[in-house]
């Protein structure tokens, strides 16, 4: 509503109101003007009619006095009549304009001016009095000197036998018109009435337009402006991103249809946007997942490359060390032959040989990690190898206080490889688990089938309830010689060898650990489907 008043150029309703208002002002003005004109004409006709009857009354009232020649009686009659309201002047003059009687006595005997309305009623050219108009204007309305309109009536008095045979002999038989009765009446009352009527009409028109405009304004506001502004408000809300907004228009007209269509459109847009958001979210999750996978793969590759280069280096070193070790062992043996087997020297030499053999063992492991070459490749039953490994350790003193929980999948998983190498890996896992728990706790071994990159894998999980692995050690776990076990207890090659073997078979090893809760190693091996 405010908009209609403050910014009419911006309001549809205001424009409509102005247009309709202007049309109404013009239309009603024309209509009322026509009515006004008609009324004026009708009033004038009534005035003429009454004036005519007054003239007839004078004509008949003076007839007898005329015939009898009683001039004073005629004069008296005229003066009596002039007393009536509105009658300004009554005159009787002959066809030459000579005034015989008049309510204004000073006029008697004078001649009516040829150019006056009195003569022009019948004569077009007052200089040639014989030229008569086809239709004489017996009455004419003119502006009186007092400012009001006045009506002049001129009635000819025709000659008749009683006139020219009367005793006075004033009129001859040949005369057609013997004189004129002229009455001037004031139309001041009529003027006043018309003025009042005109003012009333203007007031009516004004009130009419105001009432219609206000009603129209209210109607337009209700059916056009308000719905349009609600729609605009709705669009602004949508533009600002509030897709939950719906336009509250319930009408059944075009506005209602527009609002329903608009609401339905917004619903569709919202649905599409929600869908898009879901997609975006899914995409983001997918990207995050893929990024994590890539990072993992990358880390794996880096680790593998690191281990591979370490392996190459270790192999080189191992090969070089083997030569001096051969010398050490050989010469220790040779020296041993020259001393008594019971002597201290023989004992010392045995230490040299033992330690050299220990070196040799370490090197063998190192070479196993470096090369991890498949020896006897064949179909291996994972369940069988696992069962054998568990059986092997269960009766050892080290595992007396360890509970084994086996959750093996019913299906027997088959993979390609060397059973002894897998046993080595599994043994490694179990011994590590036992060490992490200080020989007390639960080792859970579970197998299940998984799919990685559309390929079937068997996942073997070794979980312990041990101390867990600190975050900073996780990345070093598979490096050769990395160990947290006491000196002499571990070589730090178990996991790196396992990693090397698994790599050769296209397998993987991963670890998840929580400090104080335990560690789980996941071994994944390519599955051969039966």
């Amino acid at each position: 509503m405010k908009n209609i008043i403050r910014h009419p150029q911006k309001s549809l309703a205001a424009k409509l109101i102005i247009a309709i208002g202007l049309l109404m002002v013009i239309g009603s003005s024309v209509f009322w003007y026509a009515i006004f004109q008609k009324q004026e004409k009708d009033l004038s006709a009534i005035a003429v009619r009454y004036g005519g009857s007054l003239v007839n009354f004078i004509k008949e009232g003076t007839r007898d006095s005329m015939l009898a020649g009683h001039r004073s009686a005629i004069q008296q009659t005229l003066e009596d009549i002039s007393i009536a309201e509105g009658v300004e002047r009554v005159r009787i003059f002959d066809h030459k304009g000579k005034i015989s009687f008049s309510t204004f006595r000073e006029d008697i005997g004078k001649t009516v001016e040829k150019d006056s309305l009195s003569c022009r009623a019948c004569h077009s050219d007052t200089e040639k009095s014989y030229e008569l108009l086809q239709e004489p204007r017996k009455n004419s309305i003119y502006k009186a000197p007092d400012g009001f309109t006045a009506l002049k009536l001129v009635e000819p008095v025709y000659n008749e036998s009683s006139c020219y045979i009367s005793k006075c002999h004033v009129h001859s038989r040949e005369q057609k018109i013997i004189g004129f009765i002229e009455v001037d009446t004031s139309l001041a009352l009529l003027d006043e009435a018309k003025l009042k009527q005109g003012l009333a009409l203007i007031a009516y028109v004004f009130i009419f337009i105001v009432v219609i405009s206000i009603s129209l304004g209210i109607i337009l506001y209700k059916i056009v402006s308000k719905p349009v502004s609600e729609l605009t408000h709705g669009m602004e809300k949508i533009a600002a991103g509030d897709f939950n907004y719906s336009v509250p228009i319930k009408s059944e007209d075009e506005m209602g249809t527009l609002a329903r269509t608009f609401n339905s459109m917004i619903k569709d847009i919202k649905a599409a946007r929600d869908q898009r958001e879901v997609w975006t979210h899914t995409l983001e999750t997918e990207i995050a997942k893929k990024t994590e996978e890539i990072q993992k793969t990358h880390a794996g590759l880096v680790q593998t490359e690191k281990l591979a280069s370490l392996g190459r280096m270790a192999a080189g070193v191992a090969h070089e060390i083997n030569n001096p070790l051969t010398g050490i062992v050989t010469f220790a043996y040779l020296m041993k032959k020259n001393v008594s087997p019971e002597s201290q020297e023989a004992e010392d030499l045995n230490v040299i040989i033992e330690q050299a053999e220990r070196c040799s063992k370490i090197i063998k492991n190192l070479l196993a990690f470096a090369r991890a070459a498949p020896s006897e490749k064949g179909r291996i039953s994972i369940n069988k190898v696992l069962a054998q490994t568990i059986y092997m350790v269960q009766n050892q003193e080290k595992f007396y206080n360890i509970k084994f929980e086996i959750n093996m999948d019913e299906s027997d998983f088959t993979t390609l490889g060397d059973a002894s190498q897998f046993q080595q890996i599994f043994l490694n896992m179990i011994i590590n688990a036992a060490d992490a728990m200080n020989g007390r706790g639960t080792i859970t071994i579970a197998t299940r089938k998984i799919t990685v990159n559309d390929k079937p894998y068997v996942e073997i999980a070794f979980s312990d309830t041990g101390c867990g692995i600190p975050e900073e050690n996780l990345s070093k776990l598979f490096e050769p010689f990395f160990t947290t076990k006491p000196v002499g207890k571990g070589t730090g090659l178990g996991l790196s060898v396992s990693h090397g073997i698994l790599k050769n078979y296209g397998g993987q090893i991963e670890v998840k650990s929580t400090i104080g809760k335990g560690t789980t190693f996941f071994i994944k091996l390519v599955l051969i489907e039966e």
Binding site: N323, T326, T330, L334, A373
Partner: protein, 119 residues
Amino acid sequence: MKKVLVIDDEQIVRISCERTLAPEGYEVTSASSTNEGLELFENNSFDLILLDIKMPDMDGIEALKKIKAARPETNVIMITGYSTVDTAVKTLKLGAINYIEKPFTPDILLAAVKEVFDT
């Protein structure tokens, strides 16, 4: 007296072989490179050749092929730093009698050498 040729680039390995085998009654000749060994092999007659697989100038396997091509009856025991079944099987297929892994003890060496002449 059985004549044994040791081809190994490592002096300590050659000495070890000499010191192990000589007291047992073998005549040991040493070569520090494959080329030198092959030259000795061409000009002399040996009952057994101990041949290292990894040599700087020529691969031990190549040398084995040449030896077997020249005199197929020659007894060859490979010395390997790479204790893998793959390499061993390969050398055995090419005609080597046996292989011993470094580091070896005098007992292992003697057992392998004796085995050649006992059979």
